[in-house]
């Protein structure tokens, strides 16, 4: 045998190929005397080592793309995404790019695991994209988006035992600043005569129209229409569900957004994020327009794929939450067992375009009756004559352009100037005759006091289901408020830039009488000086939460303190966390039938589920902690992070 023949046999043997007895023997005999062939064998093993320990490239998840094509082949049309940009457009790009994608692509999976079909990620991990990149990217993309149209497929599971699956399509049109239309067409074949969930919502500035079957217990439900005329700009009572275009509200709060990773959806690079359903409701506006829809649990997980370049939502799916509470809830609604890994509702973009919609798209159908919101349009030149004062109405506020001036029909006798750019808006309300007992505008007395750059203070509240982020400014001779979907920092900067100096709340607002009790808003320092026990803040709060305000409560028998802790960006979900402290040696009498005894770091406490309230006493101080959206475990985590509890819990 020559070297060449031996190497050939060696090569086959290394690869596990069976050699004949005769070949094996000859091979061994040759190897004993041939250093060159022994070197070949060693070299071959070294190559193998290198090959099998090479870093495997991250593998994309292509199931959807493949199944889309397969579905089309099998006669079941599936979505194909098309993103069309207007040709020859010279306007500034609405596609802000973030951190370089390629740099963060690969994870350290080894070829060794690849050979045995090792684990691969869905989606790709190793993402350097932070939640703030997503929220900031969306906020930046919202400004400057002037037109959009898209079609989506909606797939719903378990509407009822008879209707296990429904398929609908949704079309969306938008044109800045405030024209919007949403159509839902139900393609489901119902087993019995049923009114299909066909919906329409049209917003054209001051007019708002919604139509759909009324939700009713019977299979055939009458169709109802509602129209709002003289609508206030960006009215949240007659809303424009623009989160479908860019999830600016849903993903406003980086603390609540989990970035799951990157991948590709419908052939486009995309990033996947997760938020609980209760925070993602703006992505499901059709649920409230009409018709029948399956129920969702607040903690169900919504996984959203966002186009990495435009931040448009391409697909979002609802996955059932796990746990006994969800199971009990599902039982109440008669839902079947829903595995956590199977989506129960999905929205998938079929077609996205930046072309301006035809103007007729936003025509409001003729209807007999309508509701009047009473916003009377007025030209800028006539404002002073109509309102009796010259409002702060600069050409731009917060970088947005002035677009509508109206006189709201309310007792404040004020003006409302709306600013907009793309999907971003800011309402600036003003009055000279405010005599209410709280800040002007949709801002409460427990709002956070914020010192503005350049002097003065404003009172801030995070966005909620009913309102955008807002600040109220009480100045000499005038009261203003700003409401916007801009990020907190930009809203505060816009407020600071106004030519007014915000004053602290007058005593008339800070002081309230509730029954026999007197409640007074004050600083944390002032409160500490007013009570005979230490006031300690919880060290562990939900991400994004901070102290908004402090009130001293005097009920006649002693003085207590209430701390209001709020999310800085958005109120949705948890709501305001209240911590009340008061000198006491025993818990107050039980007030609910469904209370239970719990252990709060070694002290016996009480939990009241219907109020999400935890009460306990330590060092002769009664503490009550409550928040609408928190469960017992979360309340306990906060409770045990307060001052002494933390020390004992840690030890």
């Amino acid at each position: 045998m020559n070297h060449d023949q031996v190497e050939r046999l060696l090569s086959a043997r290394i690869d596990g190929e069976r050699l004949s007895t005769r070949s094996s023997a000859a091979l061994e005999q040759h190897l004993e005397t041939c250093a060159e062939c022994r070197a070949f064998e060693r070299g071959a093993y070294r190559l193998r080592e290198a090959a099998r320990f090479e870093v495997a490239p991250a593998v994309p998840d292509l199931v959807d793309e493949v199944m889309t094509a397969v579905g089309a082949e099998a006669g079941q049309p599936r979505p194909r995404l098309r993103v069309v940009r207007p040709a020859g457009s010279s306007r500034r790009s609405i596609f802000p790019r973030l951190a370089p994608v390629a740099a963060a692509l690969v994870v350290g999976a080894l070829v060794g695991s690849l050979v045995v079909g090792g684990p691969w990620q869905r989606p790709e991990t190793g993402s350097a994209l932070a939640a703030t990149d997503v929220t900031e990217g969306i906020a930046a993309a919202a400004v400057g988006l002037d037109a959009y149209q898209a079609t989506f497929a909606l797939d719903e599971k378990n509407l009822s035992p008879e209707v296990a699956e429904r398929h609908l399509t949704m079309s969306v049109w938008f044109e800045e600043p405030e024209r919007f239309r949403l159509d839902v067409v139900d393609h489901t074949e119902y087993p019995t005569t049923t009114t299909p969930t066909d919906l329409r919502l049209v917003v054209d500035g001051s007019t708002w129209y919604a139509a759909g079957p009324s939700p009713c217990a019977t299979a055939t439900c009458p169709r109802r229409e509602s129209v709002v005329r003289h609508r206030l700009p960006f009215s949240t009572a007659a809303p424009t569900p623009t989160d479908l275009v860019l999830p600016i509200s849903t993903l406003a709060d980086a603390d609540r957004v989990t970035v799951l990773g990157r991948g590709s959806v419908l052939g486009r690079p995309a990033v996947q994020v997760e938020v609980p359903f209760e925070r993602a409701e703006p992505l499901f506006p059709f649920l409230s327009i009409g018709g029948d829809w399956r129920p969702f649990f607040p903690n169900d997980r919504v996984r959203i794929w966002l186009d990495e370049r435009s931040w448009f939502p391409l697909r979002w799916e609802v996955y059932p939450a796990t746990g006994a509470e969800r199971d009990a809830w599902a039982l109440r609604f008669g839902l079947p067992d829903e595995p956590a890994l199977r989506s129960v509702f999905s929205v998938t973009a079929l077609d996205v375009s930046l072309d301006a919609p035809d103007a007729r798209v936003f025509d409001i159908p003729a209807t007999s009756s309508s509701h009047d919101q009473g916003a009377r349009p007025v030209s800028l030149g006539d404002v002073q004559g109509e309102a009796g004062f010259e409002p702060v109405a600069a050409r731009t506020v917060g970088g947005l352009d002035r677009y509508r001036v109206v006189l709201p029909r309310d007792d404040a006798g004020g003006t409302l100037v709306a600013y907009a750019d793309g999907l971003a808006f800011l309402n600036l309300g003003e009055t000279r005759t405010w005599n209410g007992d709280a800040p002007f505008g949709p801002v409460g007395v427990q709002a956070e006091e914020i010192p503005l750059t350049g002097g003065g203070v404003a009172y801030y509240e995070p966005s909620s289901d009913d309102h955008g982020r807002r600040v109220s400014i009480h100045a000499a001779g005038t009261d203003l408020y700003l409401e916007s979907n801009l990020p907190r920092s930009e809203l505060l900067a816009a407020a600071a830039a106004l030519p007014v100096q915000g004053l602290p709340m007058p005593e008339a607002w800070r002081l309230r009488e509730i029954g026999v009790a007197t409640v007074e808003r004050m600083s944390l320092e002032a409160a500490r000086a007013s009570v005979p026990f230490p006031i300690e803040l919880p060290a562990a709060l939900p991400a994004g939460f901070g102290l908004a305000s402090v009130e001293l409560v005097d009920a006649g028998y002693g003085v207590g303190v209430t701390l209001y802790l709020r999310d800085r960006d958005a109120d949705a979900g948890i709501g305001t966390i209240r911590l009340h402290l008061e000198a006491a040696t025993a818990l107050p009498p039980a007030t609910s039938a469904t209370q239970s005894t719990v252990d709060v770091a070694g002290v016996e406490g009480r939990f009241t589920p219907d109020r999400s309230q935890l009460e306990w006493i330590r060092d002769a101080v009664y503490r009550s902690l409550d928040a609408p959206g928190l469960e017992l475990e979360e309340l306990l985590a906060i409770a045990t992070s307060i001052g002494p509890e933390r020390d004992e819990a840690g030890g």
Binding site: D15, G16, G43, R52, V55, P57, A74, G267
Partner: protein, 172 residues
Amino acid sequence: MNDPDPRTLTRARDGDVGAFEDLVRQYQGDVWRFAYHFTRDRALADDVTQEAFLRAFRFLRGFRGDSKFTSWLFRIARNCAMDQIKARNVYVERVTPIAGTTTDPQARVELHAALDAVSAEHREPFLLVEVFGLSYQEAADVLGVRVGTIKSRMHRARRAMMDALAVEEEAQ
């Protein structure tokens, strides 16, 4: 590489789209890696993978089980890769180093240098056998050649790569 559950395969052959989706899930990683090794281009690998599964769906009825399912699937993937390369008239001869970390950076550098040194004809069986763990018969099925051809190509690939490495070492 394991073949699929025969029941899944049978259902997929009978046109069950759900069963086929299971196959896609099970093998997309392997097919994509194979396509990537073949094309050295992520976007091309995506296209090849999609096209390969689409063709597999089309032709699954004709799969008679003469070879392993995975060999059959890889052969389709390889054909798709060839088509893509022809269509785009690009073939990245140089092995682009893949970003990332490894337990032995030296070994990686060497491998890339060595893979650079061999022709596609030899690189293919080497990748199939060494990286994807296919047997000679399976590799032969994928590449549409005889087992003996695989045997000699494996040998020549190893020889050429080792020679390349020796040259590298001498040059340093």
